[in-house]
Symmetry: C2
Subunit: 411 residues, 2 copies
């Protein structure tokens, strides 16, 4: 029994290793997520609650209601919020895999794609045995609603009508914002019986979405994006009538959207162990989102961050790769300098050493990097980052203002 007494007396006194292992000041994340969150959001995780605990059930209900309200809908208005464990991709797959009938029952998905996340939905559908067509747009262009209308009118392979249409609201690949209202109108006009699925992973919480007005039947976003929680779960806002009617196609037990919803409704609990700490952090993050002033204020902060960033980068010779009219204020893509001394790995490391974490590019056509303006970042953080960028370039011997390495073939 000596061992247990020793352990009991040492309870909580084991030193925390995570900070020490960082071996530097906690970095600021200029990434698409996981993001820098507030201290108070992280501190909300310092409690262990049981998954059936009344406090946990209350937190889950609170989160579900507030997310619906953020999209200007409610349970009374016929909408449901389903929380699902895992990353955002898990919830996107739960939606597609649960609500789209197999080809034998006439299911057919149209993905309107202008980047990696649109392509991911198509890959997912193929893996799930769903009939899928992809209408592709340039990585730096928004989805064109008129061309989307053409694709909808044309129907899928063999002329079959689309039962579901999916698009990404903010394509993080290059940082392009798609007009989900105009696309929704095209869906209503040219495929009026189709369900409209929006991946709003890196838009929801800062770009206003009115689910009913936009005609969105399923909207997916994640805890660790613009609401500034920590990763661990994502959520789908669903048109209840559609979910009830077509939600019986789940190919998976874990990723069964309708069963997850019914479980949450039955007793307020997840069917399988929930990420209790991430849920408590998210409830705190939602409260801070409201305290800041909601969707509009959050967007205003990100826009201010982005404005500081693009102005400062312009002084150094970097112009955003995506045209102003098409860009969101979420993440900005910059081409590499046309200078042999520029080395992205060194640039990244030099910034990371200074406590600023940026993100590699994801474009297929151009060498680029990305800088996010989201998470608990402020214009002062953007200015500090810019000073570090200037330093890092000087350290490599890259003269500023730089000229940019244009891609061989601009799409």
């Amino acid at each position: 029994m000596k061992l247990f007494r020793r352990l009991a007396s040492a309870r909580g006194s084991v030193p925390c290793r995570a900070l020490a292992d960082v071996a530097r000041r906690e970095p600021l994340l200029f990434t698409p997520g996981p993001l820098t969150t507030s201290d108070s959001t992280k501190q909300a995780m310092l409690v262990d609650l049981g998954s059936r605990d009344g406090g946990m059930v209350h937190a889950v209900r609170d989160i579900r209601e507030k997310l619906l309200a953020m999209a200007h809908v409610s349970q009374a208005a016929g909408y449901e919020c389903v929380l699902m464990q895992g990353s955002g991709t898990f919830t996107v797959e739960a939606v597609l895999g649960s609500v789209i009938p197999p080809p034998s029952a006439g299911g057919r998905l149209l993905v309107l794609s202008n980047g990696a996340y649109g392509e991911r939905m198509a890959t997912m559908a193929q893996r799930l045995g769903i009939a899928v067509d992809v209408a592709r747009f340039g990585e730096t262009d928004p989805v064109d609603p008129a061309k989307a209308a053409d694709a909808l009118r044309a129907g899928g392979g063999g002329g079959g009508a689309f039962t579901h249409v999916a698009v990404v609201h903010h394509e993080t690949t290059a940082g392009v914002l798609n007009d989900i209202d105009a696309i929704g109108a095209a869906v209503r006009a040219h495929a009026p019986s189709a369900a409209y699925v929006v991946d709003a992973m890196s838009s929801f919480g800062a770009y206003d979405v009115d689910l009913a007005a936009s005609g969105v039947h399923y909207l997916v976003s994640s805890a660790n994006k613009l609401i500034e929680g920590v990763p661990g779960f994502a959520f789908a806002l669903c048109d209840r009538a559609r979910l009830e009617a077509e939600g019986g196609h789940a190919r998976s037990l874990a990723l069964d959207l309708r069963a997850q919803w019914r479980g949450l409704e039955a007793n307020g609990q997840f069917r399988f162990t929930p990420p209790t700490h991430a849920l408590l952090a998210f409830r705190q993050a939602l409260q801070e989102h409201a305290d800041e002033g909601g969707v509009g204020a959050r967007r205003a902060r990100y826009e201010a961050n982005c404005a500081v960033l693009t102005a400062g980068m312009a002084e150094l010779g970097f112009a955003p790769y995506v045209a102003d009219a098409h860009r969101g204020a979420i993440i900005s893509t910059f081409l590499f300098p046309d200078d042999a001394r520029f080395d992205f790995a060194r640039f990244y490391a030099a910034l990371a050493d200074r406590g600023f974490v940026i993100y590699p590019g994801k474009l297929t056509e151009a060498d680029c990097f990305r800088i996010g303006s989201i998470g608990r970042l402020f214009p002062s953080d953007m200015r500090n980052l810019l000073a570090a960028v200037r330093d890092a370039l000087a350290e490599m011997g890259v003269a500023t203002p730089v000229s940019l390495r244009m891609p061989a073939a601009v799409p």
Copy 2:
């Protein structure tokens, strides 16, 4: 810009609401998980790291290596550790769904089931379109290796040989420990080409498993069980040759075990956003597991907890429902008292009010409740719980020692 300055100056000063909302002392969890974890494990979550950050990549590698070592294997010995977002069920589904061929290619699963978690694997297989047979055992009995051998020899419907055999190591339904070594020997003897899948969710970390010696090809456990991390991910320890050879059957993109492994090997990162905070907590929990003395010491503490619990409950008239020879030290099932004044909801609430969270029963044949002895609990915690149990019973007017409400038909 005033708004941003105000926010910037208030950074981190928003009060943490989670503790206040608990509206009582943080409870101790006598449940099967999420569990009570150490303060230092939770404090490891107070850092935001990017998913591509060097510190994060290092933590992921460290976790994967240590989990293999805990099962007495290594990459060098031909084994791999795959981490997967979500609850343990997600990883069980990732294993079954990725490695078992469809019926058309001869895949056939035998589930040896003595409780809800065995049944869940069978349900999962059905949902995934996998041919599955279930050999059932009583909820309070262990799986009988001799009968398992019979089932293996008999083969599945139509006499087809089983390609995969799955069993739960510790069935949390009643708290029964299955002999995975003896079952593994039966698999080797009677289905030598079959892969052996073990759900070790609530055993790994306290019950020693030697993957190679037990002939286990896939072992699944979760971050928030006996290693005492927080929920957010689970892991599969895999025989690499089998995973490589048969891992191409994934029905899902998110739950593709082999692709997840290849992603981890390629750049040390998850394919999709990882639960960064839960990973940092888990690394701390692994360190504390080692500091305590590893698997043997962890088991000894749980056994000491369980001994205090069962002795104290016996004084009150409660005997564990599962025979001593079949019980683990993880969770104990107790029948309801045979007293009209006993009301489980009141009993649960009375204990919760005192800061002790227990768990409802899950048996199909008997009214019961469960008390866990795992997580960061010590014999002193068990004694405090027992005092609260005594109080709660007195409050309801239930006389002790109680007599027990025997089920109509004991299996």
